[in-house]
Symmetry: C2
Subunit: 458 residues, 2 copies
């Protein structure tokens, strides 16, 4: 089939040559392929011989020797925490949270911190091929603005805890502020609000229920950290006599619009609840390895048809936002954990980082695959490199050999956001300088308080 | 202290500015530092204010906004297997070895394959900051030649098994061929030979002993895969009634010049033997995760003072040679495995990938740290990037945030081997093309035999 040449070439972009990893339902891979885009949308995907002539399009992107695939979907992060990157590692979770993260958050997190930190994180995400992200933090109006300026597709969750938070000193105002946020958060066709209750141990049942009701009213995602640590399951058992999953189920919070990050400590009785309620899981293997929390039973989730996406978590516990290296870890950690090298094959992991993640964010009709009618969220990787030579299997290369640095060009919603590794939407130099300044202030305080570790910057 | 200006500036190179991560015994980190090199050797390391004047040196490398550190030491790989990268993943070990790797090796591995595959692997290693490597494979004369052409520092181990091998159809000739190899292998001040008995289950006791004797006679390393899988320990127990470590100890093979890769299935009685004999361990966490072999008790090795270096293993089981991402995995997998987020901190891992690896290869007096008198094996990373901003802790960034792509310049033995990510010693384009050709042949056969998996290249 030859694609009919468009009559008016404006807004048409032709991605021409290279191998197209479509992630469509048939998992088609097209060598010597093309993708035709009009404005924000994919019009057709096929063999190069069937592409429209160059003269029929406004712009051509030459992708010979490249791999073209849907942009990656990061289902769980705290973008602004990029400002804390590498500040406190190799510590027990309690020390890390209570002696470093919480005190620093209460002192430093403000709208400027969140805006600049989110810009920085967004630059890193774009550089490593992420085009959609689910974020959760404080002052998320500032994060939403940053995502809009970056041109990223984002679900932006306002963080809620039942103790004084940087953006809400009085937890009694949580419900009111949650409502306000949904109404006032900057949004557009790419950036939409959500609410993010931190966890079942930091939010009381009433808060969880009322926040979920707001989400239901507005049809927006409810985000939560769930069954992350053994300590959490013990605490919830002590307080409510049940598992975290069952506790949330009892509160009628679990449904297909709830995104649960981690889901590591899952009991045998939790699985059918997750399955029945179509709970969506954000799987963050690097962060939970680093914090020694455990390994989520993802292969079992997938067998049960529970939607699972991949996430990096925040930079304070990972410490980067590279979804391609996250794929590598995801594939390997489940092999190790199950003593089965055949589990979580490369294709499964690539699907989890694309269409799987899209499903978790409720965006599966818009993104996650290269198919006509979908939004043009597309990344292009340079295959002509020693570590990607020779090529036998494209999924294998994406998971086991590639890294985020191999992404050279990124389109989001049909717009070129990064070209030849240069992000065009935001001034990178200014953002690096702004976050460096924030880092210097934090560092000064840490040095004063004698909280520096070996290797700490002078 | 101001460095005295050299009287004759020829052969002097000044690395000027940036942060020097020395890995010296005091673990000094010098911000705004310099490294002065003469010919192949480091002359001095210090604060920029004490550096010699520009006029006193032949060449200046401007390293403002960079991190300068010793080149990484990859203690275990099979370089030429880069030609098999991504050919067979997500398979049980037995299927992988017996249905893919062994048949393909017997059919395709020849001196050209090894030379071109080693060149490709070497390019990848240099691009990701490796400056010293311990290799083990067949036709290693060709590998040695490739390493010499690349300008890499390498210990080049000829592979030995007691069944027909690609470079030795008659295993009865193993001892004779081993001797010949040591005498005839191309070598220079950077590239030296070693012998590599594949394992205690593929080499009979007599072979192990005689090959070790050759190594002792020539004072060269004896390399072996040891206690890698549960199946290996069972097989050795069945054959010899003991653990693999104890079996080799009984054969008097363990000493400070034996390099044992993996060491995962270690019994309580093995530890004191390893400690007493100063057995050197090559730890390859990514490969053993991918093959689901288990996790080596590295934190315990380190507590006992057993020398441990990091390795990538070959590209058929990793599938890249990026030592920086290997550091990340090493730090995280032990946290997960021991349920202790404080174990294997970033500094420990960086030491393991540098001076630890140098000790494993017996090169600790030459490389592994930036100190006066050591050989100038130096890598330079660009810190001015979103994923490396802000900086609180340099070790943390190296392990948890960086990747091999952040290395921009590489010096080996005082010579610039890569500058601004361009390798100057070998023609990259020609090497990629040569390995692509080898890949095409192998692919054809695999398609004929119906051995292709989902995602396989057409």
């Amino acid at each position: 089939m030859t694609t009919t040449a468009p009559s008016d070439k404006s807004d048409y972009v032709l991605i021409k040559g290279g191998v197209i990893v479509t992630i469509n339902p048939a998992d088609e891979i097209i060598e010597d392929g093309y993708v035709l885009i009009k404005a924000d949308q994919i019009i057709s995907v096929g063999k190069l011989q069937d592409a429209p002539p160059d003269s029929a399009v406004e712009e051509i992107i030459d992708t010979r020797n490249c791999l073209i695939m849907p942009g990656l979907v990061n289902t769980h992060t705290h973008a602004a925490m990029a400002c804390f990157r590498g500040l406190a590692d190799d510590l027990p979770l309690k020390t890390w949270l209570e002696e470093y993260i919480f005190p620093l958050e209460s002192r430093y997190v403000n709208p400027v911190f969140v805006y600049q930190g989110t810009l920085l994180a967004g630059l890193e995400m774009i550089h490593s091929g992420t085009t959609s992200v689910c974020d959760g933090y404080f002052f998320e109006e500032a994060a939403a603005q940053a995502f809009m300026n970056l041109g990223l597709r984002a679900v932006v969750g306002k963080g809620i805890v039942d103790f004084p938070a940087p953006d809400n000193p009085d937890p009694d105002l949580n419900i009111e502020n949650g409502k306000k946020y949904v109404g006032q958060c900057p949004s557009n066709s790419l950036v939409t609000p959500a609410l993010f209750c931190h966890s079942a141990y930091t939010c009381k049942p009433e808060t969880l229920q009322k926040i979920k009701k707001i989400c239901q009213y507005h049809s927006i995602p409810f985000i939560i950290h769930l069954s992350e640590t053994e300590a959490e399951t013990k605490e919830i058992k002590k307080r409510y006599g049940t598992s975290p999953i069952q506790h949330l189920n009892d509160l009628e919070i679990l449904d297909g619009e709830t995104i649960a990050a981690h889901c590591i400590w899952i009991t045998i009785d939790d699985f059918p609840i997750m399955q029945k309620k179509r709970l969506r899981v954000a799987h963050c293997p690097e962060s939970t390895m680093k914090l020694a929390s455990g390994v989520a039973p993802v292969p079992h989730f997938l067998r049960l048809g529970i939607p699972v996406g991949l996430g990096t978590d925040g930079c304070a516990s990972n410490n980067n936002l590279d979804m391609i290296s996250e794929m590598d870890t995801a594939a390997k950690v489940h092999k190790l954990n199950s003593k089965n090298p055949a589990i979580m094959d490369a294709k499964t992991v690539v699907r989890m980082a694309t269409i799987g993640g899209a499903e978790v964010l409720g965006l599966q009709n818009k993104v996650g695959s290269l198919e006509p009618g979908k939004k043009a969220d597309i990344i292009i990787l340079d295959l002509k490199q020693p570590h990607l030579t020779p090529v036998y299997n494209y999924y294998s290369h994406l998971v086991y050999s590639a890294s985020g640095h191999d992404v050279i060009t990124v389109l989001i919603n049909g717009k070129v956001i990064m070209h030849n590794r240069k992000v065009v939407t935001v001034n990178e130099k200014e953002t690096l300088a702004a976050v460096e300044e924030i880092g210097k202030e934090i560092k000064k305080e840490m040095i004063c308080q004698g909280r520096k570790k070996s290797g700490f910057r002078a």
